[in-house]
Amino acid sequence: MEASTPNEEPVQIIYDFKCTSCGIDEKTHYKGTNPPFSRNIVLKYPSYVMKDPFSPPGKGEILVLGSDCTICGQTVCINKECSLFYKKNYCLDCAKNLIETFPVEIKNKLVQIKKK
């Protein structure tokens, strides 16, 4: 077993993340575009980020779970049945409403998801 890592940060702020579409419910460590525990990675759109639970700590590995929809503000996860990312993050409902404004590649993608 790994030895416990002493908590360096005095107060760990926890951001509750819950996808309004599929319900996945996790505690994340950061919300924004510059996760402090992996300084090489910058996100284009503010997202909920946790330290990667599957890698040993201190490796700078992160796990991005999802973001708030840019239109309606609902929290959605990165699963393609819950959200669409194109420059920004959209919940699937809002994306469908805006379908005409997207390039054709995205339209096709959306139509395919709709079929499912």
Binding site: E2, S38, R39, I41, I62
Partner: protein, 1163 residues
């Protein structure tokens, strides 16, 4: 709990990636059709690849000083990149794809795949200034294009991890227990005791602790009956809680823990939680979960009782019992006063067809009691005929024991030879883990696994994919007879609960079929539930633990099922015999020390006695010996059948018996480890399971820590290494670590590949054992990591006790720890064949030597030869016994009795009879002349030569007293006392070093054990016992001063007559026979001449002793020199005494009074 698949990645992830990229190809293809202009700079070299820049790019990535996904998986990344490039090339897409123009139009119609990716990388470009004219320069722009691929990789990895998380959560949600989450949580919040009943696979073991933790409970203990389950559950739960790299979830098992101050959920063995129950040790748990309570293990049952009491005094603790859906009412009723709430979680069970006696077997009694494998083979045939090959589903056969499994597996294998439709796999706990794991592997298509198992597959091991179950209805179970102190391995009919459990194994993955080889009537006749352990195991360890936890009256403890009364009484007697309890059942200091050592009482006692008696550098021999007796047999099944193996072991066998042979083999193995780089071949040649020797090493090290923790052994000073030694060791460690890494890598790779079984895997056993010589022996690597050369050398030096005083002391220590487990040979053994050699033990007459034991094979070593028998006894002694007189009588000291086909003595060691008995017997009774001595009301020793018995007894009594003092001192030193006075008292005592005392004792012990005395030995039968004692009327007058122990005040024996001269020796209660009376007359009516002074007078044996001990002038002078009177303190038995001669008032003991008188008279 069942085995859960390892949390590692199980899918083939490159395969998955390929299909993903194919999707991407499709998209890209469309892209090209709709917007042919979007790809711009595709004129660049057709065969461009970023791999040309691998070195420079790696340099830049690695120089960024920050770890990230790419840095951590560099090799993986380049594999990804190659595949990515290949995909692009195939689709005719450019490899270098620059960033799309950033434009403000949010919903731009200009599509770029990079817009779909949330990740960017901030790794800065560094000019590597490496210019190659044949290539495009790696400039900032090209680097940016490369970074785009990095982002795609990061995104890909993120999705992969997210998917893993999502699947995990889905799997948790799909568990049957998930639907009861709220119900369970609110029950625990509102009630004192909650019972969660659900069958294996419902998820209770992994989920309930998490539910409670998430509901706000801060310190959750969850017990498991098995150590291995604690470790695997804590790993699994930590993984599910996404804290596998933290210590929020931990475990605690004997000798090992991962628990820290941060730990919120702790999986702990039942035994260890029990040990925490003494009030000062109990951690601040708010919930205690007892898992698998239906298994009814001894410790689990006891824990239930303790907790039932505890929750009345501790309102802040909640109790959760988790059980299979067996006998729930029992637990509900047990906690009815605490109004336990029961929550039942239905399992995921598919319908199961049930067939009784599927094959018509004639119920004729088999002639030789041998198992008929035909019904089992015919069920296989039946399955072949009835179920198409392409329908999957494996077969699980439940047999009672290893022999039965082997018989069935052989027959099944024969059947399978025909058309290779079956893979036959045995499963029992005697197999190595690797062999056990095979039952989880996959058979090829169209082939079924046929697993032949003990009841291990009933609850503890869960195998997926079982569709057919065959139940023999039998189980082999250990039972214990506390009166004869014998374990019995016997075959029983299983209980209804077990039968149902076995049947249920067929319906876990789909509808199944269960064939019961027995009749429905038989099923109806079965007991409802299996016998709980408390009724069929030795109770001494448990009662000792209870006593140390402060249970005042063990007889009135509220057990779920009370153990049989006589089992409790016999265990209490055993503890008294061990000196762990006083005669009125109070815990002694020794008892407390023994209770602190979490091993069997006998082994704990070996350790404590060893720690007190053996010098530190020889303590390893006691540790290794205790460990060797504490692990399972080191021998393989081949070891005693294969002549070659027996021959190979012979040089290392010890003619002292099995325990010392074990020790000697262990030392030989250690030497092999020291001298060569192997051990595996060495073990194979001797039929030894090398794994057991590693276990032995580990256990011995753990026991050593345990002794150190209990202050019974000094922690070793860190060995000082010279710098060159240190460098050498450093180099070795590096090599070993590399080897271990390689091994782990390989193991991980093996795991990724789905394991396919070969149809002829039955043969694999041999292939494996021979083929593995060239691969890394991970156990050897780990052994060498924890034991450097110096350590191995010191283990060898410390553990070997092949001759001389060391051997004597080790044997005496072990024998004292095992006493009264000794056996004497039957009088007629020399007329009988090897297998008919009979022995008698204190607890059970008529037992045999186990055929695989040292003496079982060579019983003649124990018999007297013609030369050993002293036949020319002077007639004048009048000795008339027909028994052989010899100085070479031996008894066997043994670890246990086990009844299989016959009652057997297991693990025995030879000891000189009279010396051992007089030293260790709990009660010793003599006649007036010390020529007839009865030990433990069981064995009669007769000494034809006058005074020879007396002298031996006297030596024994004195040695025993010195030894006891040493042990008591060790225990007292190990136990920190609370009062200042007693600490001061300790200070006052003379500080003779342990070394010196131990050395003196071992010299004298060794002389004593080898002393030559002629005697006969006879087992007393109940009839003999009726007439051998004089009875109370014949009480002997008190002996003062007492030459056996001057501080001991004599008192009469209430029943047998005579007088106690020490707390275990009664003088003059044994009646004389014709010869001994005559012998006494003739010896003691003669005037006796003291060899030291001039005294010549008629004295009885006791009077002679009194003279030599107290009044003989020669002795007096000597003694005065040794101990000057001025330093004497007032002894507890001192009395006020006014001397008639000198008229001085003194406080003296009777002995001192005598001395004073004599001194005064002389003036």
């Amino acid at each position: 709990m069942g085995r859960s698949p390892s949390p590692g990645r199980s899918n083939n992830y490159y395969k998955r990636r390929r299909s993903r990229s194919r999707d991407r190809d499709k998209d890209r293809y469309k892209v090209r059709k709709t917007s042919p202009g979007s790809s711009t700079s595709n004129r660049i070299e057709e065969d461009f690849s970023f791999t040309y820049y691998k070195r420079e790019l790696n340099k830049i990535i690695l120089s960024s000083n920050e770890s990230n996904t790419v840095v951590n998986n560099l090799d993986d990344f380049w594999v990804f990149l190659k595949k990515y490039e290949a995909t692009l090339k195939k689709a005719g897409k450019p490899i270098i794809d620059y960033d799309p123009e950033e434009n403000s139009d949010e919903s731009s119609q200009n599509f770029s795949k990079f817009h779909c990716i949330n990740f960017t990388s901030s790794i800065k470009f560094v000019d590597t200034a490496c210019y190659d004219r044949d290539r495009k320069k790696l400039d900032k722009k090209l680097f940016q294009a490369f970074m785009n691929i990095v982002s795609i990789y990061t995104d890909f990895k993120n999705k992969e991890k997210f998917e893993k998380l999502r699947k995990l959560r889905q799997a948790q949600k799909d568990l049957p227990v998930a639907k009861y989450r709220n119900e369970i949580v609110s029950a625990v919040q509102n009630e004192r005791v909650v019972v969660v009943a659900g069958d294996t696979g419902c998820g209770k073991s992994t989920q309930v602790p998490q539910y409670l933790h998430e509901a706000g409970f801060q310190s959750i203990a969850c017990t498991q009956p098995r150590r291995i389950a604690c470790v695997s559950l804590s790993k699994r739960v930590a993984y599910e809680m996404l804290t596998q790299f933290e210590s929020k979830v931990g475990y605690q098992i004997r000798f090992e823990k991962s628990k820290t101050a941060d730990t919120k959920i702790c999986f702990i063995t039942e035994g260890l939680l029990l040990r925490q129950m003494s009030s000062e040790n109990l951690p601040n748990y708010d919930v205690i979960i007892l898992d698998e309570v239906h298994e009814r293990h001894l410790m689990g049952d006891f824990l239930l009782g303790i907790l039932k009491c505890l929750i009345h005094s501790r309102n802040d603790i909640k109790l959760v019992l988790m059980s299979a859906t067996i006998n729930i009412k029992l637990f509900e009723d047990y906690f009815s006063a605490e109004s336990a709430v029961v929550i039942q979680v239905p399992g995921r069970l598919f319908p199961i067809q049930l067939h009784y006696k599927p094959i018509l077997v004639e119920d004729k009694p088999t002639r030789d009691d041998r198992l008929d494998p035909q019904p089992y083979v015919q069920v296989m045939q039946l399955i072949d005929n009835k179920y198409p090959r392409d329908e999957r589903g494996d077969l699980l056969i439940f047999m009672s024991g290893v022999q039965e499994i082997t018989a069935i597996a052989e027959a099944a294998q024969q059947y399978a030879e025909k058309d290779k439709k079956w893979i036959v796999l045995p499963l029992h706990s005697g197999l190595s883990l690797a062999e056990q794991d095979k039952v989880f592997d996959y058979p090829p298509d169209g082939v079924r696994k046929c697993i032949v198992s003990t009841n291990i597959a009933e609850t503890s091991v869960t195998i997926d994919g079982i569709r057919f179950v065959v139940d023999s209805g039998k189980v082999k179970e250990m039972s214990y007879d506390s009166t004869s102190k014998m374990q019995r391995l016997k075959e029983f009919w299983i209980s209804k609960a077990s039968a149902d459990q076995r049947k249920g194994r067929a319906g876990r993955t789909g509808p199944g079929v269960c064939y019961r080889i027995y009749s429905e009537q038989q099923y109806n006749d079965m007991e409802s539930f299996s016998t709980p352990e408390v009724s069929r195991v030795p109770l001494a360890s448990l009662l000792l633990l209870m006593s140390s936890l402060g249970v005042s009256d063990v007889r009135r403890f509220p057990f779920l099922d009370a153990p049989p009364d006589d089992a409790v009484e016999n265990a209490l007697l055993e503890l008294k015999q061990h000196g762990a309890l006083t005669s009125n059942e109070k815990l002694t200091a020794l008892g407390r020390t023994l209770a602190n050592l979490p091993v069997e009482v006998c082994l704990a006692k070996t350790l404590v006695l060893g720690a007190a008696t053996l010098p530190p550098h020889k303590l390893d021999s006691a540790l290794a010996l205790a460990a060797a007796l504490g692990i399972r047999s080191i021998y393989t099944t081949r070891a005693h059948r294969d002549f070659e193996c027996e021959n190979a072991r012979r040089p290392d066998e010890s003619d002292h018996g099995d325990p010392l042979t074990l020790l000697s083999l262990y030392c030989a193995w250690l030497r092999e480890k020291r001298d060569t780089r192997g051990g595996r071949a060495w073990c194979r040649r001797r039929g030894i399971e090398e794994q057991r020797l590693y276990e032995l090493t580990k256990l011995a090290a753990q026991l050593r820590n345990l002794l150190q923790d209990n202050n019974l052994m000094e922690a070793p000073e860190p060995a000082s290494m010279s710098s060159s030694e240190r460098a050498l060791r450093h180099g070795q460690m590096k090599q070993l670590k590399d080897a271990r890494r390689q091994f782990k890598q390989k193991a991980a790779n093996d795991l990724k590949r789905k394991k396919r079984l070969k149809v002829d895997s039955w043969e694999i056993v041999d292939e494996n054992t021979n083929a593995d010589d060239d691969v890394i022996d991970i156990r050897d690597v780990e052994f060498r990591m924890t034991n450097d050369a110096a350590r191995i050398q010191s283990l060898i030096a410390g553990s070997s006790a092949s001759s001389g005083r060391d051997l004597v002391m080790l044997k005496v220590v072990l024998c004292r720890a095992l006493y009264p487990q000794v056996a004497v040979a039957d009088n007629f053994n020399h007329h009988k064949s090897i297998s008919e050699q009979l022995y008698h033990t204190w607890s059970k007459p008529f037992v045999y030597l186990h055929p695989t034991s040292y003496f079982g094979k060579l019983p003649r070593t124990l018999q007297l030869t013609e030369a050993d028998i002293h036949s020319d006894l002077p007639v004048s002694l009048g000795f008339d016994s027909k028994l052989p007189v010899s100085s070479k009588h031996q008894i066997l000291c043994y670890l246990s009795l086990l009844e299989t086909t016959k009652p057997y003595i297991v693990n025995s060691m030879r000891m000189p009879a009279a010396q051992t008995l007089l030293l260790l017997a709990h009660s010793i009774e003599t006649n007036i002349g010390f020529t007839r001595i009865v030990c433990d009301s069981w064995l009669l020793l007769e000494f034809p030569y006058p005074e020879s018995g007396l002298n031996l007894l006297l030596k024994a009594v004195k040695l025993r007293r010195r030894w006891d003092a040493l042990i008591n001192r060790r225990i007292a030193d190990a136990t920190p006392t609370k009062s200042v006075e007693s600490e001061l008292e300790k200070e006052k005592l003379p500080k003779i070093s342990y070394d010196e005392t131990q050395h003196d004792l071992s010299c004298d012990m060794s002389t004593y054990m080898n002393s030559e005395v002629y005697y006969t030995i006879k087992r007393l039968l109940p009839g003999d016992l009726k007439v051998i004692y004089a009875g109370y009327d014949e009480a002997h007058p008190s002996i003062e001063p007492n030459p056996f122990d001057e501080t001991f005040v004599c008192r009469p024996h209430e029943k047998k007559g005579g007088v106690y001269v020490t707390d275990n020796v009664v003088y003059n209660c044994v009646v004389d026979t014709l010869w001994s009376a005559k012998n006494y007359e003739e010896t003691y009516s003669e005037p006796w001449k003291c060899s030291n002074c001039e005294l010549t007078v008629c004295l009885s044996p006791v009077e002679r002793l009194q003279h030599t001990h107290f009044t003989c002038s020669a002795k007096e002078e000597k003694k005065d020199v040794e101990a000057p009177r001025s330093s004497r303190e007032i002894k507890p038995n001192a009395k006020e005494y006014v001397c008639d001669v000198c008229k001085v008032t003194l406080y003296l003991t009777p002995v001192e009074i005598l001395k004073h008188k004599k001194g005064c008279k002389m003036k």
